[in-house]
């Protein structure tokens, strides 16, 4: 009996997926503060070759946004290059009933959900899990111990006090889509 309950629990866990509203928002390069980062791809065969769904994060205004783009091409490389074209991207917003409108589509995905959250020294994170620095000149990358790093800020409101921390994250290795380690926070 215990085994049956465990199995049921596993089935319900693996079947769940996060759902979002896909909102077609035209993004102009002026609005965007970063290149696409933390990209995740899903490639499936298509009658025209390969279909690539790219999910990535870009910093727009003051926030990281999740964007999804779909591209079709003869090869995986072509399809994914098209999917990463910002002009084809649609922002993904978490599902909330007020946001549903006639031109919205709900999409569900098992890809990992990346969002800004509090971090601790030593944590391994995606770059867009921490906020860009609020001062634009402090957003630039820098080198520290032969790794590429950048500063971040974290807001913490507790007991009616707002704490603003800053910190440093450094890329784990040189591959373009690698994760980052929280080196310091203060």
């Amino acid at each position: 009996m215990k085994r049956a309950i465990l199995l049921l629990a596993l089935v319900s866990t693996t079947a769940s997926a996060d759902c979002y509203m896909r909102i077609s928002t035209r993004l102009t390069p002026q609005m965007v503060n970063s290149q696409p980062v933390d990209t995740q791809r899903l490639v499936v065969p298509d009658s025209r070759g390969q279909k690539c769904v790219m999910r990535y994060r870009i910093h727009v205004g003051n926030d990281w946004e999740t964007v999804e783009g779909i591209g079709v091409g003869a090869t995986e490389t072509d399809a994914c290059a098209r999917a990463l074209d910002l002009s084809r991207g649609s922002m993904l917003k978490e599902v909330s009933p007020q946001r549903v409108s006639a031109d919205s589509q709900m999409v569900c995905t098992d890809l990992p959900d990346i969002r800004v959250h509090p971090v601790r020294i030593g944590d391994i994170v995606w770059q867009s899990e921490v906020d860009l620095h609020s001062i634009p000149t402090e957003r630039k990358m820098f080198w520290y111990k032969r790794t590429q790093c950048r500063m971040f800020v974290e807001r913490d409101s507790k007991n009616a006090n707002l704490w603003l921390y800053q910190g440093v994250i450094c890329q784990n290795n040189t591959s373009p889509n690698s994760k980052w380690q929280v080196i310091d926070k203060y």
Binding site: W143, Y165, Y186
Partner: protein, 90 residues
Amino acid sequence: MAVLLVGCATRPYQPQAMTYSEIERIQLTNADCGRADSFISMMGEQLRLKGYAGKNPEELATEEDRKYNSRAKVVMWSLRIGCNNPNRYK
């Protein structure tokens, strides 16, 4: 030959951390890059003496602790970033 020390101070030397206002008065210029490593290690020592080393800011008990920790780390990172990335602020 045996030397007998009589009447010497017996209290062991206990280094004390700099005060917040002493750390706040530190002004850095490009000329300090030549001794950046010793500055950084001195600031690290202050954090160790205070018991803040390796701690997240949320773990520090008071606002004064967080201010001190933050100010010392700003000095350390200003040297690490500014001295090794000369084109960053151009």
